[in-house]
Amino acid sequence: MSEEKNVVILLRQPPHGTLYPVEGLRMTVALSGDFEPITVAINDGVYAFLKDVDKTMYSMHIDFIKDIDLDIYVDRKALNERGLTKNDLIDQVEVKEHGEILKMIEDSTVAIPF
């Protein structure tokens, strides 16, 4: 059954105010043994990937996710709403149009929000 499951980890909360985003990324890492989870940042979740944000608690998760060739996508709509651009973000994430983000969520069979 596992090959049929598309797991999406949805990061929607900002880093540092809660431990949710950190735990979400830790979950992506944990699920990567059995699935190919996609990490998708929407709403305030996009703030987790600013260049200047303190990533002490989760940089190792980002590195691990990239080392095993999994993707982290960021919703351009959320960036626009916050006056942010691709250049404000770290290189390890990929900015996608809102429609593409929707498609990823639509195609998931299990979506887990953090």
């Binding site: 949805l10 929607r12 929407i42 709403n43 969520i105 639509e106 069979t109 299990v110 979506a111 929000p113």
Partner: protein
């Protein structure tokens, strides 16, 4: 390949409703409101009213509506479901978008 998708919304975050409304028309989408998300069922909520006008299926956990005293304030178009029915909905759908 049309499938049945359940937006399982348990948080006070309207994003789940918005995502459901943007979901492709090809799929058969149900929005299920639980916990404080049932407040979105209030007639005065724009996102849910719009979803109902677009003939999206919207359901709400009856017990969660009742303890909050909201029965008189929600649209007739919202289907109230018992906890038992929630379980059935979960398994009837092919995928679950949790929010």
């Amino acid at each position: 390949m049309s499938k049945k998708v359940l937006y399982f919304i348990t948080s006070e975050d309207i994003t789940g409703v918005e995502l459901a409304m943007e979901h492709t028309e090809e799929d058969d989408v149900t929005i299920l409101l639980l916990q404080n998300a049932v407040y979105f069922a209030n007639k005065s909520n724009k996102a849910v009213s719009q979803a109902l006008n677009q003939n999206k299926k919207v359901a709400a956990c009856e017990e969660h509506i009742e303890i909050r005293g909201l029965s008189n304030f929600i649209s007739d178009k919202i289907k109230l479901v018992a906890t038992d029915d929630v379980i059935d909905l979960i398994f009837e759908n092919d995928s679950i978008i949790n929010m």
